[in-house]
């Protein structure tokens, strides 16, 4: 009997083995390989792959374009995230408020979420057409006399930045609303009833009951949005010429990485170095936010919070 027991397989390992193998081969190894490439001068055409130490990184940091790309990415993300979270909190509060009883909540949130599922490549091309010189936006604005003559949005850095921010906001505010609504409606009504008995007003209820209890979910939204934002590519890449034009105004980390990758001599080493730097930056910030916003004062057990 004892002998049989030692031979018993633990099926837990059997079930998770495919994931672990898949992760090692197609998740972890590419990360290691990217890191290894970032120390070489590998190109696509010449077959060079000499070790060059930190040369790629030194070049990267002395290149103002990289600093621009990093700053742009952060700005484009923050400028869409803050209004996104603000409007989502507002709507989630309205939709879950028992006193307001907003009608057809399901329909509203379904429609607000729709842009999120649409192909970003098509969305970028759509907004490019809408805002082109002879496009519908200029047509309407000029005909109604709001602006005296057509504006060349595509060559205007401020207009293009605003447009990228708008599109990102447009695609994501519905999703954030739905997640916050789920978090808010999972709060027990008795907590609000107790607050009403204590004489709390709407704002106080939000500040002292809702906000602390949705903090873990807000941390989740913040981190996932940040990780996505730092990898922003499709919209800014396809909105203009694929180089972050005009005047590098919408050049993001990923666009710069892609440009290095597809440059004439296909400098894979330099592209890998960008990937490594952004990877490190994003991971550190994401884990830091997660640590700082971890559950200190909420009463939910820590295990549930991390979900």
């Amino acid at each position: 009997m004892l002998r049989k027991k030692t031979f018993k397989i633990n099926y837990g390992y059997v079930f998770i083995t495919p994931f672990i193998i898949g992760f090692l081969l197609f998740g972890l190894y590419p990360v290691y390989h990217t890191l290894a490439l970032s120390f070489t001068n590998t190109t696509m055409l010449t077959g060079k792959d000499d070790f060059v130490g930190l040369q790629n990184f030194i070049r990267l940091f002395s290149d103002n374009t990289f600093i621009t790309a990093i700053t742009n990415t952060w700005q484009l993300w923050l400028m869409n995230f803050i209004p996104q979270l603000g409007i989502a909190i507002l709507m989630a509060v309205w939709f879950t408020n028992v006193r307001l009883r907003i009608k057809a909540v399901g329909v509203w949130r379904m429609l607000f979420y729709m842009p999120n599922l649409l192909m970003p490549a098509a969305i970028a091309a759509l907004f490019f057409s809408l805002f082109s010189y002879y496009g519908p936006v200029n047509q309407v604005l000029v005909r109604t006399g709001i602006i005296p003559e057509a504006i060349d949005y595509i060559r205007n850095p401020t207009a293009m930045r605003s447009l990228v921010v708008f599109i990102q906001w447009w695609m994501w505010f519905g999703q954030t609303t739905i997640i916050l609504m789920a978090a808010m409606s999972s709060i027990s009504l008795s907590l609000y009833e107790a607050a009403v008995i204590d004489g709390a007003r709407d704002w106080q209820m939000f500040r002292y009951v809702t906000l602390p209890l949705i903090k873990p979910v807000m941390a989740y939204i913040l981190v996932t949005s940040l990780v996505g934002g730092m990898q922003m590519f499709d919209i800014p890449y396809l909105l203009t010429d694929g180089r972050g034009s005009p005047a590098n105004s919408i050049l993001t980390n990923m666009i710069m990485m892609y440009m290095r990758f597809r440059s004439n001599e296909g400098h894979i080493g330099a592209a890998a170095a960008i990937g490594v730097m952004v990877f490190i930056m994003t991971t550190i910030v994401a884990l830091l936010i997660n640590y700082l916003l971890r559950d200190k004062d909420a009463k939910v057990p820590a295990k549930e919070v991390r979900r």
Binding site: Y11, G12, V14, F15, I16, P18, F19, I21, G22, F26, G27, Y29, V31, Y32, H33, T34, L35, L37, L100, R109, L111, F112, M114, P115, L117, L118, M119, A125, L126, S129, L130, P136, Q139, W170, G174, I178, I179, A182, S186, V217, Y220, T224, V227, M230, Q231, F233, D234, L238, M254, Y258, F261, I268, A272, G275, V278, F279, T282, A286, E304, R307
Partner: protein, 279 residues
């Protein structure tokens, strides 16, 4: 002011705000769909919100310029369907293993998956590309599909779902009947988890259908282009001033997703917060 009036005023303002937001949400999409049916001349003459009759004409222009839309559809569909099956199967397999069995390192593995969700894996695409080229797998769909064996987000979701449906009694009953552990997973648990698997399938499908960046890096042969890659070529000079045709190409790539959404929005909306919020 009397409280009733105040409440109604507040409601009115909220509805007004929601209507404006809804117009902002829908107008761009509506214009895309409508312009796909209008001729280039009509589009240039002015903005219109009613469909016209030039869809077939626009489609012929697209084909005449060499944009093989049906082929793009087929390619995208092939990649998306296989990616979906792989993601759903392996995600539920892994999640089931974590939930049903006790094993050493289970907690660490669980935390590891939570951390993985927060890590920007796409930034390792350069290494992935180079590695695939060493294996001779660049320009194949396999290179797009393989990583979905280990989808952290998929496991995260599957675990949240299985947590609420796995019933130990059924597993025990299956064992008494002599079913193997994998057999129990396939024949007993998977049917029970079907709604969750279906929800994850929708998300995987949409994600794979829309994925531009990975395909753009890894696929080079024009015949193998997926839809987002074909869409991107619409920006080229060949299509200059063929607005109707461009809008039609864009519309064609998002219409399947819109249809899927309106058919299954209940699954999708309930799936978004799954994992993020424990209800």
């Amino acid at each position: 002011m009397n409280p009733k009036l105040q409440l109604n005023l507040q409601r009115g303002l909220i509805y007004a705000f929601l209507v404006i937001l809804l117009l902002i949400t829908l107008i761009p999409v509506w214009m895309l769909l409508v312009n796909a049916t209008r001729s280039t001349t009509q589009i240039q003459q002015g903005v219109g919100f009613l469909p016209s009759t030039h869809m077939v004409e626009n489609y012929k222009i697209l084909l005449s310029k060499g944009l093989d839309l049906p082929r793009g559809f087929l390619n995208s569909f092939t990649v998306a369907i296989i990616t979906t099956i792989v993601t759903v199967y392996f995600s539920f397999l892994t999640a089931y293993g974590i939930i049903v069995y006790d094993f050493k390192g289970k907690k660490a593995f669980n935390n590891f998956i939570l951390v993985l969700v927060m890590i920007p894996m796409q930034l390792s695409i350069i290494g992935y590309y180079h590695y695939m080229s060493l294996l001779g797998l660049t320009d194949t769909y396999l290179s797009l599909i393989l990583p979905s064996i280990a989808s952290a987000l998929g496991v995260f979701f599957a675990k949240a779902y299985l947590d609420s449906v796995v019933i130990q009694d059924l597993i025990d009953a299956g064992r008494v009947d002599g079913a193997s552990e994998l057999g129990i997973f396939h024949k007993i648990m998977f049917p029970i988890a079907a709604p969750g698997a279906f929800t994850l399938a929708i998300f995987s499908f949409v994600g794979a259908w829309n994925n531009f960046f990975n395909a753009y890096i890894l696929i080079t042969t024009r015949d193998k282009y997926t839809l987002p890659m074909l869409i991107q070529t619409l920006r080229g000079d060949v299509y200059r001033h063929e607005y109707g045709a461009i809008y039609l190409g864009l519309a064609a790539s998002i219409i399947p997703i819109i249809i899927i959404y309106f058919m299954f929005s209940k699954f999708i909306v309930s799936g978004i917060s799954m994992g993020a919020v424990k209800e």
